[in-house]
Amino acid sequence: KQPNTNSERYEKSTAKLYLSIIDDVIDSMRELFLDEGLEDRVLDDLRHLWESKMMQSKAMEDFRKNNINSSNFVLQLPATSVVIPASQNIHSFPVKASTLATFSLPAALAYPVQIPAGVTLQTASGQLYKVNVPVVVTQAPASQQPVSHLAQKATERREAPASQPAAVQPHPILPHEAEPSSVPASSVTQPKTSLAPSQESCLPQLPPEPEGMLAETEPSPQPEPVNLSVTASPCAQLSDFHNSAEEALTQLDLDYNYSDLSDIVQLDGPADNSDLEEGDEVPLEENDFLGIINAEDPLNSGDDVIEQDIPDLFDTDNVIVCQYDKIHRSKNRWKFHLKDGVMCYGGRDYVFSKAVGEAEW
């Protein structure tokens, strides 16, 4: 199937561009790595990680189209479980009595795929996931990010870190959603209670992060070229999952974790909080000094002066990073002439050499 829509063509060329960038960087790093005494394998791992992360963040379409033969799913089923035919959503299957049944799902798999309990999934990179509960595998809309994936797989793959109570609120986790590295961009198909809030508040970052960072923060290696989403039917598992998700995330050394900020010691300045409770003390001093001025100063923060309503209808992840030729404004009409940039819109990347836009404020 040829890419015939504009966005599909964009996808292809963007993917090509990114892959070529990755190639260039990796190749030019080769010598450096060798000089440092690192094995080639490390560099290859890095490339793998990078590519897979990148693939997750954009739609997987392009990659699949290029590799029709290779699948992203290899299902290894223990003898007692069922085989899942590729082209259907699953219901019931004949049980294979003998040894492990390996099954590959073709690239053009129709999502969502339901996988019953007790199945071990192996992704293309070789990672194994034993699923304890029925799983639905969907295609991530590419605008969703982690949190959820940690779910059931966490039971097998990850050793949930010992302590680390889940004291973290969903919001602070956000900026680093991308960090949980190998974590695939997954989405929960039927968000349940505790999942929903963190899911909605998830704000994905721009695609690829350098793997070097990830390797440091995550002890357990988990490359995931595949989008897996997990819905657990039993609700009991949700709280576990939620906890393990938060635990796993707090395990990462995140600067943005707000609870950490409280650890910062204040060396000078008044012992108040950042919400300026203005008006009262200072004008008095002023009046002492200078005598008159306007004593009617009081910017009672909050009282009189209500804050700007709708300040953040701007929490968007659609960003454009580029250079500009010309930006023009008349009253509230804006015109943009941009060049050489990347637009991340709806989770997808679009690279351009020229872009023209108009907007009303």
Binding site: E278, D297, L299, D304, V305, E307, Q308, I310
Partner: protein
């Protein structure tokens, strides 16, 4: 705010300009980078910040002087100014809202009749001046200035505050009335 005498004239205030001070230095770069809805004009040395709620535009200088334009009433101007000061406070500046002053009010008023500009100028020589190129008339009264166009389009009055403008219109009205054009143009 209407003119008293005969019919009620609708005076529509279209713009109120006010200034105030924050009594602290403002780092324009910080405002430009971290503020919302801002336009940085480094060549002039100011930052424009636009507010939606009272629809106003403020010019912010690093000295802490701020000019607020676009409000449609004096109260709105003050409210907008305070909101703006609050925004700056939230950006981390030690803002103290002071020296608020309405400096200019622009109002539009439609006379129910057309005015004979030339006659008017002759009759009111010292205060009226006729601008041939614009074919319009400027009337300078004590504290305000009225810009009057010849026929139906509204006249524009400019003064230091709204009350003043209303008074001005009242004062000019009779003068204009004297020189009104007959109804059939």
């Amino acid at each position: 705010m209407d003119s008293s005498n005969d019919e009620a004239l609708d005076i529509i205030v279209t713009n109120v300009v006010a200034t105030f001070r924050t009594r602290c230095h403002l780092n324009l770069r910080t405002i430009a980078l971290e503020g919302t809805n801002v336009i940085y004009k480094p060549e002039v040395g100011k930052v424009l910040m636009k507010l939606r709620k009272p629809k106003i535009t403020a010019s912010i200088w690093s000295s802490g002087k701020i000019i607020c334009t676009g409000a449609t009433s004096e109260d709105e101007a003050k409210l907008g100014a305070r909101r703006l000061a609050r925004c700056l406070q939230k950006l981390g500046f030690k803002v103290r809202f002071s020296a608020f002053k309405v400096v200019n009010v622009l109002a539009v008023c439609s006379m129910p009749f057309a005015v004979h500009l030339i006659d008017f100028t002759k009759n009111n020589r010292p205060i009226a001046s006729f601008n041939v190129t614009c074919c319009s008339l400027l009337v300078f009264l004590l504290l305000f200035c009225a810009h009057i166009r010849s026929s139906v389009p509204p006249s524009v009055a400019l003064g230091p505050n709204v009350q003043n403008v209303a008074t001005a219109v009242e004062e000019v009205y009779p003068l204009l009335f004297e020189c009104k054009k007959p109804l059939c143009k």
